[in-house]
Structure formats: structure tokens, C-alpha cells
């Protein structure tokens, strides 16, 4: 499983890095960035989906089966 962030949609609400700080972080302006290459470690699938489903801007996409 992988996650990706649409930098065009992200407005820096920070729900993702609040909820899943080991997958997402903030840049110097508060916009979200991936901490790694977007690969979701085994056991973290639920958290990745949580970040996706709480993003007010729908900027996060979970790519199942990748």
C-alpha cells in the first residue's frame, strides 16, 4: 500500500500529520509532506486510511495493492 499527497489540494490543515505522525510531516509553511516515499509499512494500513478519510481537502489518496 502507498499514500500520496496532492500538493495542489493540500492547504495545511495538518489532520494527516496530527493523526499519523510517522507517515506525514509538515513543511516550513505547514503544508503536508510524506516522511518517506509513501510506502505504508505493514500494520499501518488503518492509519493511512484514517489520514485519507479525515483530510478536509481530499488531498490524500491511498493506493491499495501497491
Amino acid at each position: 500500500m502507498k499514500v500520496q499527497i496532492s500538493s495542489e489540494r493540500c492547504q495545511g490543515h495538518g489532520r494527516c500529520y496530527d493523526l499519523v505522525p510517522d507517515l506525514f510531516g509538515e513543511d516550513e509553511e505547514g503544508y503536508s509532506r510524506l516522511l518517506g516515499d509513501g510506502t505504508v509499512p505493514p500494520g499501518k494500513e488503518r492509519e493511512a486510511r484514517l489520514a485519507e478519510s479525515n483530510c478536509p481537502e481530499r488531498a490524500i489518496e491511498v493506493l491499495e495493492g501497491t
Binding site: 492547504q11 495545511g12 490543515h13 495538518g14 500529520y17 496530527d18 509538515e26 516550513e28 509553511e29 505547514g30 484514517l50 478519510s53 479525515n54 483530510c55 478536509p56 481537502e57 481530499r58
Partner: protein, 423 residues
Amino acid sequence: MAADDRFTDDYRGRREDGPVGTRNEIITGPVSDWATDFSHLEPEWSADPYPIQDDLRERCPIARTERFGGGWLPTRYEDVAAIAYDTDRFSSRAIIMSNFRPPRELAPVGGSPPISSDPPFHHDARKLLLPAFTKQAVARQEPSTRAFCHSLIDAFEGQDVVDAAADYAQHIPIRVIADMLGFPPEHGPQFREFVEDLIEGINLPPDDRIARVSRLFDYLLAQVHEHLDDPREDLTTYLINAELYGQKLEPSHVVGTLVLLLIAGIDTTWSAIGASLWHLAKTPADRHRLVAEPGLLPTAAEEFLRAYAPVTMARLVKQDMHWHGADMKADDWILLSFPAANRDPAQFDRAGEVVIDREVNRHAAFGLGIHRCLGSHLARMELRTALEVWLQRIPEFSLDDPPAVTWSPGQIRGPRTLPLRIR
């Protein structure tokens, strides 16, 4: 280095030669039909706007009013979101729905950049402020905020009933923003007056309103002068020195942004803290659960933000158009109700209920799109800290006199009197 003379003469005087805005007749009094005559300044709305919004969403999802010179109130999430995203057709030139429309020439900067700005200027003005308001940056305020919350509760010693709005919630954002701007914390009571003048004094006679707003600008100009004489590590000094397009900011930009930072951070967070305590006071099951499971607090705080979203914004329609079934005219207001969007059953399960362990919560309390609340990380830090300290220190409390609770009128809604029995 030449002295900074941007603020030496009264720069406001120079504006009077420029374009003027338009005023409309002030209409107050009971609302005849919320679908055609809505007003967010009438007591029925302040007391409980949710049944009104739910009813409108069913029978007239974009309501109309002839008050304030004409405006619209969308109550469906999808319409609110569409307007928030559509900066081509809806301007932020004015974001407080009132009886005065600033001149069109004020766009794209607006009176209080960046909240009042439209693209492309908006992005550049916002970029100046974003680094000071990241989650990491505002975390530096958390220890002092926590200590301050404790000191407020220490002062309850010996009292059985306290006003959680006036004696707790109110003081927290005032102290935090005063620290960030480098304003004396003892000026807090004045800040409260400024907030009331600007946000709640909408229907006052024009001369009275102008006089009140002038007091705020006089205060801020005096603070700018103090910071020019004695520069410090704070946001005011930062703004005085900040540059955009290779030049220092216009004086109206500096003072307009100070208006935004001072006003927007106070009654909003005050309202969020107060509404959350009000809910917990009247809902023992939720209170007991949060005391037993403090780890649930961040999730619960998001639900309080959804269900009791304090902030409604406004926009102005740019040109005549037919939009989602409404015949909108240029300069019609849009009352952009994030609270109504947050209770749309098409977007949220059990939309009208407060579910403190709601896991999926894509609420819009801090807005959507390019104007996402600049202070959202600060507000969340303050809300969580204020609730955490309160629940640790006062796990048992209840509404002392439910009818005595009062709510603020206008676009920022929260308790202004909240008597709680704490022992």
C-alpha cells in the same frame, strides 16, 4: 538607515481621497421567514441556529435575505465547499457581512490581508505569515498556555460556581495572541471590546461603527509605534520589517494584518473552548469518558469543532450570475456557514449528534481551500490544552443555570456567559 516614516503621518487620511464603499439601509427585528429574510444577528439565531439551518437545508438550501443590502445563505456542505473553492466568482474583499461594502478597488488586497485578499495577492500575503503558525511553531506556546490555564483555575479557589466563558475560555486566546504580537497582556479587556465592536456591532449606526473601528486602528497604530521605537522578537516587529515584492509592506497592510491577527484569534477560540465545556457540562457520559480516557481528547476536540464550529465567513458575489438555482447579483453577500456545512447529513453520519469518538471527521470548521484558517494549529493547541487542564482539575461540573447561558450574535458563535457549578 533612514527612519521608518510609513506610520509617521496618519496614513488613513490619505485613503479618504480614494474610492468609497456603499452603505445600505439597516434592517433589524424579528425574522419573518428564514428562507427569505434570514439574519444571523437576531436572538433566535444566536440561541440555537441549528434547527434553522437544518430546516433551510431541507426546504430552501440557498436562503435569501434583503437585509444587509442583500445576501444568500447556503446550508448544504457541497454548496459551501463550492463557494469556498471558487475564488473567481466569490471575492473575500469583505468577510464580515454588514451594512457596508468596501469599494471594489480594495480587491485583491482587502482591508485585512490575507483573509480579505483574493488571488494572486492572497498567496504572497499569506506566505509571509504561514511559518509563524505551523504546528511546530505554535507548539512553543503550549507550556505557557498550559501554565496560564492552571493559573485561571487556581483563581477559582473558594467558588462553587464560575463563569467558564468569561473567567476561563475568554482569557486563553487573549493571552496567547498578546504574547505572539508583543502587546501588553493587561490590555486584554480592551481586546474584548474591539472584538465586540468589529464582529457584533454590525447593525450599529454608521457613525458609531466608524468611531468604534477607529479606536481599534488607533490602538494598533500606537502599538506599531512602540515596536518601531523598541523592536522585539514578535509578530508585530516581524510585520513592520517584512517585505513583499522587494519593498516593505504598505502601512495599511501592516495594520490590517494586525487587525486580523488580534481579532480572528480571540473570539473564535474562546467560542470553541466555551462550547466544548458547555457540551461536557450537560453531557455527563461524554465528560466521564474523557476523564477516564484522556487519549480520546484530540478526537473529541475535532467533534466539538465540527458540531459547534464557531466561525462563519462571508464572501461578495463578483458578477451577476445564476448559481445553483439562485439569481445572484454583483455585491450580494454570501454568508458562508461552515457550521451549517458541518451538520449536513449528506456529508456526515449522525450529523446532528455529538459523537466524541467519531473517527472519520472531514469537517470544515477551519474553512476549505486557500483561506484555510491561518491559526488553525494554534486554535487546536489552545482548545486541547484548555480542555485537558480543565478536565484534570475539574472532572465534575454541570450547568448551574441553563437559561443563564448566553451566546454571541453574528458570525462567531460561542457562549459568552456560562455559569458552571464546579463543586
